[in-house]
Symmetry: C2
Subunit: 349 residues, 2 copies
DNA sequence: TTGAAAGCGGTACCAA
DNA sequence: TTGGTACCGCTTTCAA
């Protein structure tokens, strides 16, 4: 009776998901699970004839090894994570693209998470850290101590577009030199009164762009505003900013923290009858696709390369590279188009 | 001696990654692993005092439960996958966004994979299927039999922008009606000779857009081309198409399979001195951000909603919904801008 | 070359 | 309320 009950339980359990396990294959092929495992891994300690029997059994039973069992035994996930503040906009897609491509080539799956600055972001990232062999973290997503915690747990971390944290690699793009280049270019147009639109508190990138902008103005002997005009990252933020600018009087130039902001601004200004660049010049940052069609002067960043690099750095760490953390800085370049004003000598594109 | 060796081995193994396990916590708190597990799961069969001891031990040992062990025991991954042909372009990002957002809310991680029409795509998807509780597959990524195989294995699948496969849910956007709307709108402009740019073989979407286009022309009593002008999905493909069109003689309108193609075409035509829409009208499909700034007349699709819906469908299946497969069709709408020609009566945007 | 068995880190049933 | 223990599915010694 008891025996019978036990059987019933066992059967019921098993039927929960009728997955074929390595034991089924072993039984079917008349060998041990160890041998099946070896055959699976392509070990050369398996007799050809045996291997054939195993392969036949695998085929017949349509067996697929469980990643979970495998990962648990191997103590590795064969997966990497990537964390973004948000996935919207044309900007992050490129980073993911570069990252995923490299990770896939290296045989690692990619887990993606966007925090949407939710309160639970910290927990979500910690949870994610428990599912991967390495983690890439973009910008302002979680607090430094969460990053530190992940590092502490032995999960390699690479930071993207974010200030360094002890024990983690990082990749970012150059901002200060390019901010100078932007200002110099605009000054060469004869523009004098320049303002910066964007919130330095939002990200390391914006912060660097703002200070670079201000310093460049001072170096050029031009009047630098005390403060940036704070704004978010979206087109709507640009639209709102337009209203404020119109109310407060237009400068010669508005240097925007990113393209979406700049595009929204240009659009709204145009809607209000202000001509860009005749009445006011505008520049962006990122060089998203829409910037080309809007003729927006901006700064190009190698986003895809950033993703790819992060994936490779992570791979090195996971593979046991114990050297000092690396901090790569990718170069960016000014892309001159229409919104900075007429430029007789420079080449358009 | 043997004992000593065993110990050494054990220690070496353990130090491979000094992770704290539930057994360590149990020992530390002076309880059984079962109790720790219960405390972890928030079971109310744990005495408050005991729980406190367990919590203290967890805290002290900085214990984090292993997702792997948990998943293996629970026989679930708490993760979903999503497969794309490619991640580039402003288009897919929106789908991922909608998908990830819902999945995250439902407590599932998201694994992302792009196949880049690699030969190994089939294997990559099968591998991915082994790491998730459900899979969303976009467009032409893998063969139908791979999808069938995944379904066979008991992993719920939802297809996006792709023809149905037995046993899988699907979400797609409406193409035929909108193709008619596009043609009718263009005909109202007085345009007569219309051609279609894009390759129906590339995707179900393009195929439907092409046949809808052709049928609409016939219904309108206009001459319909026998064949589309084949082209890929990128701006470059549009640039190449421009050269061919210029060589072969311009039609009144070029209806493009997607926006990037249309934008590349418009750009290249402009570069060749052809005025859009005066000399030739152009329309796209997708309504990506750049389309707004280029004034491209196009068709808007609710990409984010598609992703969100796929995630919810998957959730229902994973949760045991055994009803007949659902096939949702999302409505799309014509967005009239400049590139279709002057339209005195309609509203711009 | 092969097999037995001890893990990997949890969960949950059964008995106490 | 608790503890003992048998799994979950695979990998990898160790011994034969």
């Amino acid at each position: 009776m008891t025996e019978h009950d036990g059987d019933a339980v066992k059967r019921r359990r098993a039927s929960a998901r009728a997955s074929v396990t390595i034991r089924d294959v072993a039984r079917h092929a008349g060998v041990s699970v160890a041998t099946v495992s070896r055959a699976l891994r392509g070990s050369d300690l398996v007799h050809p004839a045996t291997r054939e029997r195993v392969d036949a059994a695998i085929e017949e039973l349509r067996f697929t090894p469980s990643q979970l069992g495998r990962s648990l035994a191997e103590r590795r996930h064969a997966a990497n994570g990537i964390v973004f503040p948000d996935l919207s906009g044309p900007f992050y897609a490129e980073v993911v693209l570069g990252y995923e491509e490299v990770a896939a080539t290296l045989g690692r799956s990619v887990l993606i998470l966007s925090t949407h600055n939710r309160d639970s972001a910290d927990d979500m990232v910690l949870d994610l850290a428990g599912r991967v062999d390495g983690l890439a973290v973009f910008g302002r997503t979680v607090h430094d101590d969460v990053v530190a915690e992940v590092v502490q747990r032995g999960v390699p971390v690479v930071l993207m577009a974010r200030t360094e944290v002890a024990g983690a690699d990082s990749v970012r793009t150059e901002n200060v030199l390019t901010a100078h280049a932007v200002v110099e270019h605009l000054a060469a147009h004869g523009h004098r009164r320049m303002v910066f639109l964007g919130d330095p508190v939002d990200s390391t990138d914006v912060s660097e762009r703002w200070t670079g902008f201000r310093d460049a103005l001072q170096q050029a002997g031009l009047e630098a505003p005390e403060q940036p005009i704070t704004a978010g990252f979206k087109e709507d933020d640009g639209v709102r900013a337009a209203a404020d600018l119109l109310a407060g009087g237009l400068p010669d130039v508005v240097v925007c923290a990113n393209d979406e902001l700049a595009l929204g601004l240009v659009e709204a200004l145009a809607g209000a009858g202000v001509r860009v660049p005749d009445d006011v010049a505008v520049t962006g940052w990122d060089d998203v696709m829409a910037a080309r069609y809007a003729g927006l002067t901006t700064v190009r960043q190698p986003m895809r390369d950033m993703g790819a690099r992060a994936a490779r750095m992570l791979d090195a760490r996971i593979s046991g590279d114990g050297s000092e953390p690396r901090h790569d800085v990718l170069t960016t370049q000014l892309v001159v188009r229409r919104t900075c004003g007429p430029h007789p000598k420079e080449a358009h594109r």
